[in-house]
C-alpha cells in the first residue's frame, strides 16, 4: 500500500487512440484526461430513416468497475473533438469536480454537440427498440450485427439540457496558465497546434512532471503553433491522438481536394463535402478562397449547411489570441483573420441552418456543399447523398479521417457518383513524433498499444510505430498502468527566521549541511518549516513537582554523529583538561583509554566510542563534550 502510493497510476478507459479517455491518479488527485466519444458504432446503422436514437457509444459503462466517476476531481480537455462524451461523464454519475478547457474549445465543442443533438433529434422516431441490446437476442442476428462490439455500452444521445449542464461545469483557462489543484498538483495547458484552443497538458508537482500530448500538429494551419519547449524535462510523456492516416500528406490532400472539386464543377457536377462544422473546413474555405478565382470558379456557389454554420463562422473570427501569427497580425489591422468573411460578403459562400427554408429558394447547381455528419448516417448530408448519388457527374469528397469512407458509403451502394478520399489529418505522424521525442527527451513514453505495432492493414510498414529509447510503455483499453517513476521529494518552505538560525558547514566542496530541528506545519498540502517554539521559562519557586514531571521529553532529538577520534590528540586533549594517569591500550579494532583515577574506560573504535564510568554525571558530561569536539553532527 505504501509503495503503491508513491507511484502514479494511469487508468485507460478508451480503446480509441484518437479519442482518448485516461484517468491519472497523481498525489491523491484523480485527473481524467479527455473524454472522447467513439461514434464509429453509428456505421452499424442504416442512414437517416432507420437510424435509431441509439447511436453513440461512450467509454464509460464497461469501465465503471475500473473507476468510480464520482471520485474524479478534475477533467482536462485537450480539444473540442475530445470532449464529446462530457455529458455522459458529468451528468447522472455523481461527478462533482471541475472541468478545465480553453475558451475556443468550449465554444466550438458546444457547437459540435449542438449540431449532433440537432441532427439526432431530426431523425424520424418510428419505434425505439432496445431488445437488440440483449446478448441472447443479439446472438441470433445476422452478421455483422451479431459481431458488433459491446452493444450494451451503446447509449442514447444526450439532450441539449445535459450539454448545457455539462458545459457549465467547465472553467476556462488560457495557455501557460498555472492551475493549482488542492495545493498538491499544478496543471498547465499548452498550445498543441492542432485546432483552435487545442491544448496539451502538463501535470506536475515540484519534483515530478507528466506531459499529456493529445492531438498535436506541427503543420502551419490556422491555430497557434505547438509549444514544444515547455514539454521538456518530463518524467513521463503520455502520447495520444496521432494522425489516423499516417501515410497521407495533408498538403497533398488539400491539393487533390481542390483539383477534384474543380474538375467536377467544370463538368457541371456538384461536389459534396461531408464534414464537421469547425476545424479543417476553415482551411478548406481559405484554400478555395485563393483557388476559385484562378480556377475560374468564382461563380460557383459554396454552401455550408449546419445548424451551427453561422455560429461556427462567426466564432472563428473572434479568437485572435489563439491563432497563428499571420492571422493575429490581420486582426491588428483590424481585419477578420479568416478570408471566409470576404467569401460571405461577396456572396460566394452562403450558410444555412438546414436544407429547409431559405436554402431551398437559393439553391443553384452546380455547387459545392459542406455539411455533416461525416459518418453519412444522419444530418443533411444524407439528403445530398440521395439527391446526387445517382449521377456520375457529381462527386463526394471525404476529408474527415474519423470514419472509413468505404463503410460510410456501404448502404448507398450501388452509387454512380464519384467518390474521392482525401483525408486531411494534420495531427502528428510517426516521423514527426520521433523528431518531437528527440527534441523533448522525456524519461519515459506511454502510449496506446496501437502505436507500438504497425497498422493491421499495413503490417509490413514497421516504420509506422513509435520509435524511442527506452521503448514506449503501451496500454490498452481498461488497463491500469503504473507510470514508471518514483516520487522521492516533496516541496517544503523554510521560514526565513528558521533559515537564519541554521549553521551550515561545508562537508565537501560545494555541498553544505545543516542540522535542522523545526516544527512542521502542513495545511492544504503545503508544508512549512517553522522555528521551534522557545522553551517555556522554568517556573521557579513553585511547589515541588511530582517525579513524573521531570521525565524528559525524548522527542527532542539529538543529531547523529560521524567521523572518527584520533587517539593521540584525544589523550592530549584529556590531559589539557586536567585528567592524569591516562593509560592507552591497543585492541583488535582500536584503543582503550583508561582513566585510572576516575575508574573510567573509553573504548575508541573507527565508528564508535563507548564511555564506561561510575555514576558521575559531571564527569560523564565533561568526557562527552571532549569526544564531541572530534565528531561532526548531523
Amino acid at each position: 500500500m505504501k509503495i503503491k502510493k508513491r507511484f502514479c497510476h494511469s487508468y485507460c478507459l478508451s480503446g480509441h487512440p484518437t479519442l482518448p479517455c485516461n484517468v491519472l491518479k497523481f498525489k491523491s488527485t484523480t485527473i481524467m484526461l479527455d473524454c472522447g466519444l467513439d461514434m464509429t458504432s453509428t456505421l452499424n446503422f442504416l442512414p437517416l430513416p432507420l437510424v435509431q436514437r441509439y447511436v453513440l457509444m461512450h467509454p464509460k459503462t464497461k469501465q465503471t468497475e475500473l473507476i468510480d466517476l464520482s471520485t474524479v476531481d478534475v477533467i482536462l480537455i485537450s480539444n473540442y473533438h475530445c470532449m464529446m462524451a462530457l455529458p455522459y461523464i458529468t451528468e447522472h454519475t455523481g461527478f462533482s469536480g471541475t472541468v478545465y478547457a480553453t475558451e475556443p474549445t468550449v465554444q466550438i465543442g458546444r457547437l459540435l454537440m449542438e449540431e449532433l443533438v440537432n441532427f439526432i433529434e431530426r431523425v424520424p422516431k418510428a419505434q425505439s427498440a432496445s431488445l437488440w441490446k440483449n446478448k441472447d437476442i443479439q446472438r441470433l442476428l445476422p452478421s455483422p450485427l451479431k459481431d458488433a462490439v459491446e452493444v450494451s455500452t451503446w447509449r442514447r444521445c444526450y439532450t441539449m439540457q445535459e450539454v448545457n449542464s455539462a458545459l457549465s461545469k467547465i472553467q476556462l483557462v488560457g495557455y501557460s496558465q498555472k492551475i493549482e489543484l488542492f495545493g498538491a498538483v499544478q496543471v498547465t495547458p499548452l498550445s498543441s497546434g492542432y485546432a483552435l484552443g487545442s491544448s496539451n497538458w502538463i501535470i506536475q508537482s515540484h519534483y515530478e512532471k507528466v506531459s499529456y500530448v493529445s492531438g498535436s500538429s506541427l503543420l502551419t494551419t490556422h491555430p497557434q503553433p505547438m509549444d514544444q519547449a515547455s514539454l521538456k524535462n518530463s518524467d513521463v510523456l503520455v502520447l495520444t491522438g496521432l494522425t489516423q492516416i499516417p501515410t497521407a500528406n495533408p498538403d497533398g490532400m488539400v491539393g487533390e481536394f481542390c483539383s477534384n472539386l474543380a474538375l467536377t464543377v467544370r463538368n457541371g457536377g456538384n461536389v459534396l463535402v461531408p464534414c464537421y462544422p469547425s476545424g479543417v473546413i476553415y482551411d478548406l474555405l481559405e484554400c478555395l478562397y485563393q483557388y476559385i478565382d484562378s480556377a475560374g470558379l468564382s461563380s460557383v456557389p459554396l454552401y455550408f449547411i449546419s445548424p451551427v454554420a453561422n455560429s461556427s463562422l462567426e466564432f472563428s473570427q473572434i479568437f485572435a489570441e489563439w491563432l497563428c501569427h499571420n492571422k493575429q497580425s490581420k486582426v491588428y489591422l483590424p481585419e477578420p483573420p479568416f478570408p471566409h468573411a470576404e467569401l460571405i460578403q461577396t456572396n460566394k459562400l452562403k450558410h444555412y441552418p438546414s436544407i429547409h427554408g431559405d436554402f431551398s429558394n437559393d439553391f443553384r447547381q452546380p455547387c459545392v456543399v459542406f455539411t455533416g455528419h461525416p459518418s453519412l448516417r444522419f444530418g443533411d448530408v444524407v439528403h445530398f447523398m440521395e439527391l446526387w448519388g445517382k449521377s456520375s457527374l457529381n462527386t463526394v469528397i471525404f476529408t474527415e479521417p474519423d470514419f472509413s469512407y468505404l463503410e460510410a458509403l456501404a448502404p448507398y451502394q450501388p452509387l454512380a457518383m464519384k467518390c474521392i478520399y482525401c483525408p486531411i489529418d494534420t495531427r502528428l505522424n510517426f516521423i514527426q513524433v520521433s523528431k518531437l521525442l528527440k527534441e523533448v527527451q522525456p524519461l519515459h513514453v506511454v502510449c496506446p498499444e496501437q502505436y507500438t505495432q504497425p497498422p493491421p492493414a499495413q503490417s509490413h510498414r514497421t516504420d509506422l510505430v513509435i520509435d524511442c529509447q527506452p521503448p514506449a510503455t503501451s496500454y490498452r483499453r481498461a488497463e491500469v498502468l503504473t507510470l514508471p517513476f518514483k516520487r522521492r521529494y516533496e516541496r517544503i518552505e523554510i521560514m526565513p527566521e528558521l533559515a537564519d538560525s541554521l549553521v551550515p558547514m561545508e562537508i565537501k566542496p560545494g555541498i553544505s549541511l545543516a542540522t535542522v530541528s523545526a516544527v512542521l506545519h502542513t495545511k492544504d498540502n503545503k508544508h512549512v518549516l517553522q522555528p521551534p517554539p522557545r522553551p517555556a521559562q522554568p517556573t521557579s519557586g513553585k511547589k515541588r513537582k511530582r517525579v513524573s514531571d521531570d521525565v524528559p521529553d525524548c522527542k527532542v532529538l539529538k543529531p547523529l554523529l560521524s567521523g572518527s577520534i584520533p587517539v593521540e590528540q584525544f589523550v592530549q586533549t584529556l590531559e589539557k583538561h586536567g585528567f592524569s594517569d591516562i593509560k592507552v591500550e591497543d585492541t583488535a579494532k582500536g584503543h582503550i583509554v583508561l582513566l585510572q583515577e576516575a575508574e573510567t574506560l573509553i573504548q575508541i573504535e573507527e565508528d564508535s566510542t563507548h564511555i564506561i564510568c561510575d555514576n558521575d554525571e559531571m564527569l560523564r558530561v565533561r568526557l562527552r563534550d571532549l569526544v564531541l569536539k572530534f565528531l561532526q553532527k548531523f
Partner: protein, 600 residues
C-alpha cells in the same frame, strides 16, 4: 534583508504619465510608460534619466509592462524605447498591442503636424517600438526569465486593460493599472484571485467618491441628452475614441431605438469604424452579455450612429456628436466646442476625468471665460455637465479589490494627494496593512522576508505525518533532519539518509554508567525490582523486562550485576547512546536515589 522598492516617475500623487519603477528580488520592472496631458513641455514624459545614471536602460530593466492603451499609460513608450533607448521586452495584452500604435500615431500627428513640434518620435519609431512588444493572454504565466514571472488579470477599464502580477519566488507585487469593479454596458468587472501579494499598487482616481448606481447615472445622462435635442440644442460629448465612447454609443443606440428618435448622432474621426471593428474582433474581452449574443446581434454594429464630417458642425437643428479627445485639450472636440460654446441651448457632457490644465478641467471647475490661443477670450454659455462614466473603481471598488487580493501592504498612485490621504487612512483602518502614497521621485522601501523553497524527502515527511496522526500530535512536534545545500538547491532529509548520501559512516557514542545499589537479593530479583519501580514511574515510556534478565526503557539497557567483593551491593549497568542522552542520564539519577522498599 530582501526588500521591494517602488518609485513612481509619474502618477505619484498625480493623474497622468503613469510610470512606476519596481525592484523586487533583484529584478527591475517598469510599470506603464505614459504621457501627461496637462503639459506640453519636458514634463509631459517621465524623467527616464532617474532610472539609471550610467549604463543602458536595457541592462538595468528586466521588462516593461503596459497596462492598457490610454496615452497616459503608454504615450511615452516610443520616446522611451527608441529615443532614450530600450531593447528589452515590453509586455501588454493582445488588444492593447493592436490599438496602442494607432493612438500613438494619432498623438504624434497632433503634436507634430498640428502643433509643429520638433524632436518628437516618428511613425517609424512607433513601428520599431511595437516590434519589442510581447503579447500576453489573460492568466497566462509569462516567464520573463528563469526567476521573474508575470501574469495578467482582467481589469475592465477599457478593451484589453489588464492588472499585472509580478512575481519572483515567493515575493510578488500586483499593479492594477486602471480598473473598474462594476461591469458596464460593454466590459466586465475587474477580477483578481486571493494572490496575497507583498504589495498592491492601485490607482485611486476616485479615492473619495462613492458613486450611485450606474442605472441612475445612465438615466440622468439620457434625460439630459434627450431634453437638449428636444429643445433643438446640440450635444457635444468629448470622448476618447476607444473605451467610454463605445459604452455611451451602445447606451444612446438602444435609447434611440426604443424611443424611435430621428435626431442624428455622429461620431467624429476616422477612428470610429476602426475602433468598433476592434471591439468586434476582440469580443472575448467584452462582457458576458455581448459575448453571448454577438452571433445574433453584434452590439458594435450601430444603426443610428453615423460618421461625422467637419461641415456638420454648422448644420442647423439638433444633433449629438461624440468627438475626440476626451479632455477638450486639442483636436476636433475642442474645435466643435469653440463653435457651440456661445449658445445656451447647447450642452457639453464631460463623461470622464479631466487632467489639470486642460479646457475640460477648466470648464468643469466653473470657469466660464476661457483664454484661447492668440489672446482670444471664449465665453462659455452652453450648459456644462459632468457625468462620471470613466471606468475607474470608486472608493468602494478599491476597497473591494484590496479585500480580494489580500496584500501585505498597499501603495496608491494615479490620484490626487488630498484624496489619497483619505483613502490611505481608510485602508489602514479597515485592513490593518500599511498604505503608502509616494510622490514622483520618492522611493518606498518595503522589507520582505521570503521563505526559502526546498525539498523534503518523502520518507522523512511520511514518518512525520504518521506521527502527526497520533493523539498527542496536537502539541507542536519537532522534526529533526539534515538540510543538504548544493548550489542553490535545498533538500531536507533524515540524518541517516544525509550520512548515506555523503558516503559517511555513523559514529556511535555510547555511555555506560555504573550505579551502586544496596541490595542483598539476587541479581534477578534486583532487576525485577528495578523493572517494577521504573514501570510505575515512567508511564509514557515503554519499559520491558527481557528474558535474559535485563530491563529496557525505550532503547536504554539496564543490567544488574553482583560484584564479587561485596554481596550486599549490586551494580546496575545503565547503557545508552548519545541520541538517548536525556533519558539515560535521567534514569541514572533516578536509580541513584535507590529503589523503594519492596512490599513485605
Amino acid at each position: 534583508m530582501p526588500e521591494i522598492r517602488v518609485t513612481p516617475l509619474g502618477a505619484g500623487q498625480d493623474v497622468g504619465r503613469s510610470c512606476i519603477l519596481v525592484s523586487i528580488a533583484g529584478k527591475n520592472v517598469m510599470l506603464d510608460c505614459g504621457m501627461h496631458m496637462g503639459f506640453s513641455d519636458d514634463r509631459r514624459f517621465p524623467d527616464f534619466s532617474y532610472i539609471t545614471q550610467s549604463g543602458r536602460l536595457t541592462d538595468f530593466l528586466d521588462c516593461v509592462i503596459i497596462s492598457h492603451f490610454h496615452l497616459d499609460h503608454c504615450g511615452a513608450l516610443p520616446y522611451f524605447s527608441e529615443m532614450v533607448g530600450y531593447d528589452g521586452p515590453i509586455y501588454m495584452t493582445h488588444p492593447t498591442q493592436a490599438i496602442c500604435p494607432i493612438l500613438l500615431e494619432d498623438y504624434r500627428k497632433i503634436a507634430v503636424d498640428k502643433k509643429g513640434e520638433a524632436n518628437f518620435f516618428t511613425s517609424q519609431m512607433i513601428k520599431d517600438c511595437m516590434k519589442k512588444v510581447v503579447a500576453v493572454h489573460l492568466h497566462q504565466t509569462v516567464q520573463v526569465d528563469d526567476e521573474l514571472e508575470i501574469k495578467a488579470y482582467y481589469a475592465g477599464h477599457v478593451l484589453g486593460a489588464a492588472m499585472f502580477q509580478i512575481k519572483v519566488g515567493s515575493e510578488s507585487v500586483v499593479y492594477t493599472g486602471d480598473y473598474n469593479m462594476t461591469p458596464d454596458r460593454h466590459l466586465g468587472a475587474a477580477w483578481i484571485d486571493k494572490c496575497r501579494p507583498n504589495l498592491l499598487i492601485t490607482e485611486s482616481t476616485y479615492a473619495t467618491t462613492i458613486r450611485d448606481s450606474k442605472r441612475c447615472r445612465e438615466r440622468d445622462f439620457l434625460k439630459k441628452v434627450h431634453e437638449t435635442v428636444e429643445r433643438g440644442g446640440k450635444v457635444l460629448i468629448p470622448v476618447f475614441a476607444l473605451g467610454r465612447a463605445q459604452e455611451l454609443c451602445i447606451l444612446l443606440e438602444t435609447f434611440w431605438e426604443r424611443m424611435n428618435l430621428k435626431v442624428p448622432i455622429y461620431f467624429s474621426t476616422g477612428l470610429t469604424e476602426k475602433a468598433n471593428h476592434y471591439y468586434k474582433l476582440f469580443i472575448t474581452w467584452t462582457n458576458q452579455k455581448i459575448r453571448k449574443t454577438f452571433v445574433q446581434r453584434n452590439m458594435f454594429e450601430f444603426k443610428h450612429i453615423k460618421a461625422f464630417d467637419r461641415a456638420f458642425a454648422d448644420n442647423p437643428g439638433p444633433m449629438v456628436v461624440f468627438a475626440t479627445p476626451g479632455m477638450l485639450h486639442a483636436g476636433q472636440s475642442l474645435q466643435i466646442f469653440r463653435k457651440w460654446a456661445g449658445n445656451e441651448k447647447n450642452m457639453v457632457i464631460m463623461p470622464g476625468y479631466c487632467v489639470q490644465g486642460t479646457v475640460g478641467h477648466k470648464i468643469l471647475s466653473g470657469q466660464r471665460k476661457l483664454e484661447m490661443e492668440g489672446r482670444q477670450v471664449l465665453e462659455v454659455k452652453m450648459q456644462v455637465e459632468y457625468m462620471s462614466f470613466s471606468a475607474h473603481a470608486d472608493a468602494k471598488g478599491i476597497m473591494q479589490l484590496v479585500g480580494q487580493a489580500e496584500p501585505d501592504s498597499v501603495l496608491l498612485v494615479h490620484g490626487e494627494a488630498k484624496k489619497m490621504e483619505f483613502l490611505k487612512q481608510k485602508i489602514e483602518q479597515e485592513f490593518r496593512v500599511n498604505c503608502y502614497m509616494p510622490a514622483n521621485g520618492e522611493t518606498v522601501v518595503l522589507p520582505t522576508s521570503p521563505s526559502i523553497p526546498g525539498g523534503i524527502s518523502l520518507g522523512l515527511l511520511k514518518r512525520e505525518m504518521a506521527q502527526g496522526l497520533l493523539p498527542e500530535a496536537k502539541k507542536p512536534r519537532l522534526l529533526h533532519g539534515t538540510l543538504i545545500m548544493k548550489d542553490s538547491n535545498f533538500r531536507l532529509v533524515s540524518s541517516e539518509q544525509a550520512l548515506k548520501e555523503l558516503g559517511l559512516a555513523e559514529h556511535q557514542l555510547r555511555f555506560t554508567c555504573r550505579v551502586h545499589l544496596h541490595d542483598t537479593r539476587k541479581e534477578q530479583e534486583t532487576a525485577m525490582r528495578v523493572y517494577s519501580h521504573l514501570k510505575s514511574i515512567l508511564k509514557d515510556h515503554c519499559v520491558q523486562h527481557l528474558p535474559d534478565g535485563s530491563v529496557t526503557v525505550e532503547s536504554i539497557l539496564i543490567q544488574a550485576a553482583a560484584p564479587s567483593e561485596d554481596p550486599a551491593t549490586k551494580v546496575l549497568l545503565v547503557s545508552w547512546t548519545y541520541q538517548d542522552e536525556e533519558l539515560g542520564s535521567y534514569l541514572t539519577s533516578l536509580l541513584k536515589k535507590g529503589l523503594p522498599q519492596a512490599p513485605s
